[in-house]
Every structure is written in C-alpha cells, then in structure tokens.
C-alpha cells in the first residue's frame, strides 16, 4: 500500500471525533446511537490499519468481534429506545431527565 498508515489513523480519528460530536450534540436517541456506531467503526478502521501495518491479523479479529458486539449492542439499545419512547410524544433524550440532582 502506498498510503502511510498515519493517514488512515488520522481519518479514523476524524470519524471518531465526528461520532463524539454526534453523541454530545444531538438529542435524538437514534442519531446518538448511530454516532456511537461511528465511534466503533472509527476504532475498527484504526485496528485494521494497524493490523495491516504490523501484518498481524489479530487486528482483523478484534474488528470482527467489535462488529458482533456492535450488532448486539444496537439490538439492545434500540429495544430500550423503543420501550422508553413508545409512550412519549417527542423522541428526545432531553425529555428523559427525571433523574437528576
């Protein structure tokens, strides 16, 4: 490959930070979850990049397991979102702030 791994890593960092911003800035739980998926994918990109750099496929395996976990997590997350917001008018996490102080 001709592109230095640093660039991949930098890209993953950019994606990661976009994900972070998403989690912090958006109030729609679904979009927050998607941002979290972005986080995981950014991590995966970094993993795969380094796997390539070190020529060690453990990175691939790690990434694969991350994908699996992400799937499971998404399932649970969406279930919780559904039960939480089914009875609410707005799908907005700021609505859910009974616990405070």
């Amino acid at each position: 490959m001709s592109v230095a791994p640093e660039n991949y890593v930098a890209l993953s960092a950019v994606l990661f930070f976009i994900g972070v911003v998403g989690v912090i800035a958006r109030r729609n739980p679904l979009i927050m979850l998607m941002s979290i998926e972005l986080l995981f994918n950014a991590s995966n990109l970094a993993l795969v990049t380094y796997a390539r750099a070190w020529v060690d496929n453990v990175g691939h395996i790690f990434a694969f397991l991350v994908i699996t976990v992400a799937a499971a997590e998404a399932a649970i997350a969406l279930a919780i979102v559904v039960v939480t917001f089914r009875s609410r008018r707005f799908v907005d996490v700021d609505e859910v702030s009974a616990l405070k102080g």
């Binding site: 996490v93 700021d94 009974a98 102080g101």
Partner: protein, 662 residues
C-alpha cells in the same frame, strides 16, 4: 503520740459535728468546746517536751523523697498552740451563749473546730508544704465562718473576697516553695535553714522572703491586701474574736518568726517587712478613727496592731513581735467578746452612733471593754504597754528610726480612736431610738445598723433600751480574759533577763548580730527604753485627752447627736472609702477579668474559632449543592463532561509524551 491527739481532736470534732450536727442539737456546743479544751490541756501537758532543745517531732506522711511531712512542737509553735487552743476554748464557750438558738448551731461549732484544726496544722507543721496546707485550710475556715450566715449576700461576697485574697497569699508562698525546692529539693524547715547560707544567693533569699511576705500580708491584712479584713466582720462576733483578731490573722507573724533565719539573712526583706508593717499600723489606726461600726473599729485596730507585730518581727525584734501577738490575743479577744455582748444585747446593733450611755445599763461589758481599751492603748502596767513598747523600741534598737517614729505616732492615734469608741459607746445618752438620718446615716443597711426594724420598731418603749443581760456562758470567758489582759505583760518585765527573753533565749537570731554576710552590725539606740516609753506614754495621754474632749465630756444628747451627724457628713471620702482600695481593685482587676472572660465566651469562641470551622462546613455543603447542580439529568451534559475529561487526558498524554519525544 499526744501531739497527734492535740492535732486531730479538733478535726474529729469538726467531722463529728458536721455529720451529726442536727442529731446533737444543743449538745454540739459543749462537745465542740470540750474537745478544744482537751486539746488545750494536752498541749499544756506537752510543755516540757516542746521546750526541750529540739522540741517534739512526729512523722506524718511522705509523698516522695524529700517531701516527708511531720508535726513539730517547739517553743514558737507551743506559744501559738496554747493561744489557739486556750483562747479558742474560751471563745467556744462564749459562743455557746452567743450562738444560742441559731439555726445552724452545730455547723458553727463544726467550723470553729475545723478552724482550730487548720490553725494547728499551720503552726505544728515541720515543713513549708505542711505550712501551706494549714495556710490554705485556715483560709477556708475563715471563709466558712465569714459566710456562716450564707443567706446574707454581703456575708457571701465578703467570704469570697477573703478567700480569694488569701489564695493570692497562698500562691505567693507556693512560689517561694518552688524557689526553695528547685534549689535544694527538700521541704522541711531544718533542711532549709541548714542550707540557707550555702544554697541561695541573697537575691534568691529576698525573692523567697518576698513570696512568704506576700503570704503574710494576705493573711495578716497588711497593705495592700488588707481590704478583706473589715468585710470579714460580717461573720458572727466570736469568729471575729478568734479568727480575725486573736489567731488566724497573726499567722503572718508566726510565719516570719518561723523563718527568722531567712529574714535575718536578708536585710532587704527586713526593710520591706518593717516598712509595710509600720505603714499598715499607721493606716489602720487612721481608718480606725473614721469608723462607726464597732466591729469595724476593732477590725482596723487589729490591722494596725498586726502592723506593729509585723514591724517587730520584720525588723528583727522577733520576741517582741511574738510577745505583742501574745498580749494582743488576749486583749483583742476580750474587746471583741465585749463588743459581742453589746451587739447581742442590742439585737445585732453594731453602729456606735446608735449606742451611747451603755455604761449604766451594761456595767460588765463596760468593765471588759474599758480594760481592753486601756490595754491596747498602752496604759502602763497593762499587757499592751509592755508588748507595744517592746516592739516600738525594737524598731529603734535595730536602727529604723523612721519606723520608730511611725510606731510612736500610731500609738497616740490608737489611744485616740479606742477611747473614742469607749466614750461614744458607753457615755452620753442612749441613741438607739434616734432616726438614723438624724445621725447622718444614709444607708443604714451598709452602716452595720442591721435589723433596724427589730431594734426600733419591735420595741415600743424606745427610751428604755432593752438589755437582756449576758448569760454566764458569755460573761465567764470575758472575765477570765481580763486577768491576762492585765497581767500577762509582766512576763516581759525586766529587760534582757525577763521570763520572756529567757523563754526565747537563743531561739531567734539576734537581729543586730547577724546579717546577710554575717558581719556584726550594731545600732546604737539614741536613747534608752525608759525614755522611749515616756515618749509613747505622752502621746497616748494626748490621744486620750483629744478623745475625751471630743466625746468624753458628756454634753446634752442633742448636741452629741448634732456632732455625730456633722462628723458623719463631713467625713472625708478618702477615709470613708478606706483609701479607695476596694474601688481600685474593682476597677483594675475584677471588672477587666470579667469583661475579658465575657469577650472570650461571647466573641472569640463563637465568632473567632467556631466561625472558621463553621465556614468550612458551610462551604462543604455549598460544594455539595454545586456538584448536585452539575447533575442536570441530561445525558448530553454527562457526555460532555466525559468528553471534557477525555480532552484533559489526551492533552496530558499528548503533551507529556510528545514533549518527551521531541
């Protein structure tokens, strides 16, 4: 063994009477008196042992090495013990009659016995600590007895005043003890005196003597610690007679006499002591002229007489001082007891302005008082004559002409105010029915005219003062006291080889032989003792004459009243307020102390110290609420805090390690 008995019987009596007082009822008095009498007898029995070269000595307790305490009876303590128990016995007997019917009859005798015990502890102890113990205990006893009628606020405050001032003396003595022990680590007299020359510098000697003398001043009512004595007259009259005239107040004399070697080896101390003594004698005498309360007059005279004694022992005429103590014990006790008879008869009337003409109605009291007055003012042949002259001449003999002069003048003043007392009380017409304001008495309750209503209102026949004659229990002791009052002085008749001189021969260091550096110093007295006696007697006569002219020549009652009134009203404030000593103490010590304490508890504690703590607590609470307020419940806010934390982390690692790599 007998010594233990002497010492413990009074204590036993005190405990017994205090515990079983109510059950004993009227037997308390006789029992208490009997115990003292036995104690007196025992002391007398011990005469030979005491006069042996080293006296009697028995051990008591031991705290730690060098702090072994015991009792010792030698010539000096023998004299005191005899007076304490003997005069004490008489006064006990007198009290049976005087206190008859009092609510706390038994308690009174318990206290009296306790006092005798304490006083014996003081004089019998063979070491400074024991002395201090006795010193404190007699203070306590006098506190108890001054405040005997504790429902009288005046009595209560007088008692407290007396006690606190005495504690000042106690701590001063404690200070001397520190000096002594820190040097030689021992407390017994013998050890101290044997080491005096070697272990102490003259400066230290002076400091020790100073501490001890402050103790004396507090106990013996020397200026400036005298103010408690007049107030102490709040106590029952027998108490005044025993404690505040005969025995306790003369403890200072005992102390100095006991520490004669110390004094003799510290000329500065002698000068100081003598000067203070003379000053007190004069000041007391002057105040004696300005008083109207019969007991206060006697109190100031006591103060003045003790001044004489202190001057005597101070300048080194120890035996003279002690002799004056001896005679004074008798005639002052007698005076007080006589006054007690009067007060008792007049239902607690103490203001001489409201007496007068009692000569006819109370002949016995008159005789008693008259002998006393003659004795105290130094009428030739009576006891006071010998002792006082000895003291005064002693001052001259040891080379203190100024003190001598003061002594002489004081003698004259003494004669004046004592005869004033005699005349005002016993001559002229009875003024008990006169309205106090006519006599210029503004505040009767303060002027010793207690129970005004009882004396005037309760008895319709105002012309005839009601006099229930004293019971024999009261008159017998007085009668017994008259004898020594007249005769005891002759012990010292005959100069150097008199009985008295022989008794104390070589017991005291002769002042003009030994000084600090042991060099022999002799003061040539300008004139002989006879001349001195003549001078004194002349002044006494003058004093008598003035008193007679002013009060004795019996004018019409109206004029007498007018004169008393003008005298009362014109009384200069400085005398009426006893030189403002009390006011000064109040303003300089008492008020500031209370103010400071109030400031501590009202300002410093709550707003100074606690404030800091409270602030900490409050700010902790505030922080708690602050952190609560961060807890908005908004997920995104939490996420943001996490992100911020991450930023800090990343910053740290990026900077720390890339910095390292660079």
């Amino acid at each position: 063994m007998l010594l233990y008995l002497v010492w413990l019987l009074p204590l036993f009596g005190a405990v017994l009477l205090w515990a079983l007082g109510p059950q004993l009822k009227s037997w308390a008095g006789p029992i208490g008196s009997a115990l003292i009498g036995v104690s007196f007898a025992a002391t007398a029995v011990l005469w030979n042992g005491a006069t042996a070269p080293h006296g009697l000595h028995v051990p008591l307790v031991s705290w730690l090495a060098g702090w072994d305490f015991g009792l010792q009876l030698d010539r000096l303590s023998l004299i005191w013990s005899l007076i304490i128990t003997g005069v004490g016995f008489l006064i006990h007997v007198y009290s049976i009659g005087y206190m008859d019917g009092d609510r706390a009859f038994a308690r009174f005798f318990a206290y009296m016995n306790f006092f005798v015990f304490a006083m014996l502890t003081l004089v019998l102890s063979d070491n400074v600590v024991g002395l201090l113990v006795g010193w404190g205990l007699v203070g306590l006893a006098s506190y108890f007895l001054i405040g005997f009628w504790f429902y009288k606020p005046t009595a209560v405050s007088a008692a407290r005043k007396a006690f606190v001032m005495n504690v000042v003396g106690d701590v001063a003595i404690m200070f001397s003890i520190f000096l002594i022990v820190s040097k030689i680590g021992l407390t017994s007299y013998d050890a101290i005196f044997s080491q005096l020359g070697r272990s102490f510098s003259s400066h230290e000697l002076f400091l020790i003597a100073l501490g001890l003398f402050i103790g004396c001043a507090a106990k013996s009512a020397q200026i400036p610690l005298h103010t408690w004595l007049p107030d102490a007259m709040e106590g029952p009259t027998p108490v005044s007679a025993l404690i505040h005239a005969a025995t306790m107040v003369t403890a200072g004399v005992y102390l100095i006499a006991r520490f004669a070697p110390l004094w003799s080896s510290s000329p500065d101390a002698q000068e100081l002591t003598g000067a203070i003594g003379a000053l007190t004698a004069l000041a007391g005498a002057i105040l004696g002229c300005a008083q109207w309360d019969i007991k206060r007059i006697l109190a100031y005279s006591t103060m003045s007489q003790i001044g004489y004694m202190i001057m005597g022992v101070g300048v080194g005429a120890y035996d003279a001082g002690v002799f004056h103590f001896l005679t004074h014990a008798f005639f002052k006790a007698q005076l007080f007891l006589g006054a007690g008879i009067i007060i008792h008869a007049l239902a607690n009337e103490q203001d001489v302005r409201r007496m007068g003409g009692l000569r006819k109605t109370m002949p016995f009291a008159f005789v008693a008082m008259a002998t006393g007055v003659l004795a105290i003012s130094g009428f030739p042949g009576l006891s006071g004559f010998f002792s006082k002259d000895a003291v005064i001449y002693g001052a001259l003999e040891t080379g203190h002409p100024w003190l001598y002069a003061v002594g002489v003048i004081t003698a004259g003043i003494t004669a004046y105010y004592m005869f004033r007392l005699l005349f005002v009380t016993f001559f002229g017409a009875y003024r008990g029915a006169v309205d106090p304001s006519d006599l210029g008495i503004r505040h009767p309750e303060l002027a010793g005219t207690a129970e005004l209503a009882a004396s005037s209102g309760a008895h319709p026949e105002e012309e005839e003062p009601h006099h229930h004659a004293p019971s024999w229990l009261m008159s017998a002791p007085v009668a017994l006291l008259i004898v020594p009052t007249i005769a005891i002085g002759w012990l010292d008749f005959g100069g150097g080889d008199s009985r008295w001189q022989q008794f104390f021969g070589g017991f005291f260091p002769r002042a003009h032989e030994l000084t600090a550096n042991g060099a022999v110093v002799t003061h040539a007295a300008p004139f002989s003792e006879v001349v001195s006696t003549a001078i004194v007697f002349a002044l006494v006569v003058i004093g008598f004459a003035v008193a007679y002219v002013r009060y004795g020549a019996t004018p019409a009652p109206r004029e007498a009243i007018a004169r008393l009134r003008t005298e009362t009203v014109r009384m200069p404030g400085v005398l009426a307020n006893a030189y403002y000593f009390d006011a000064a103490y109040e303003a300089l010590l008492v008020r500031p102390a209370y103010a400071l304490g109030r400031w501590f508890i009202r300002v410093v504690d709550p707003h100074g110290i606690d404030a800091g703590v409270r602030e900490v607590a409050i700010s902790a609470q505030w922080l708690g609420h602050l952190f609560r307020s961060f807890q908005t419940g908004l997920v995104r806010a939490y996420a943001l805090t996490i992100a911020v934390g991450v930023v800090c982390f990343v910053a740290y690692y990026a900077l720390a390690f890339t910095g390292g790599a660079r």
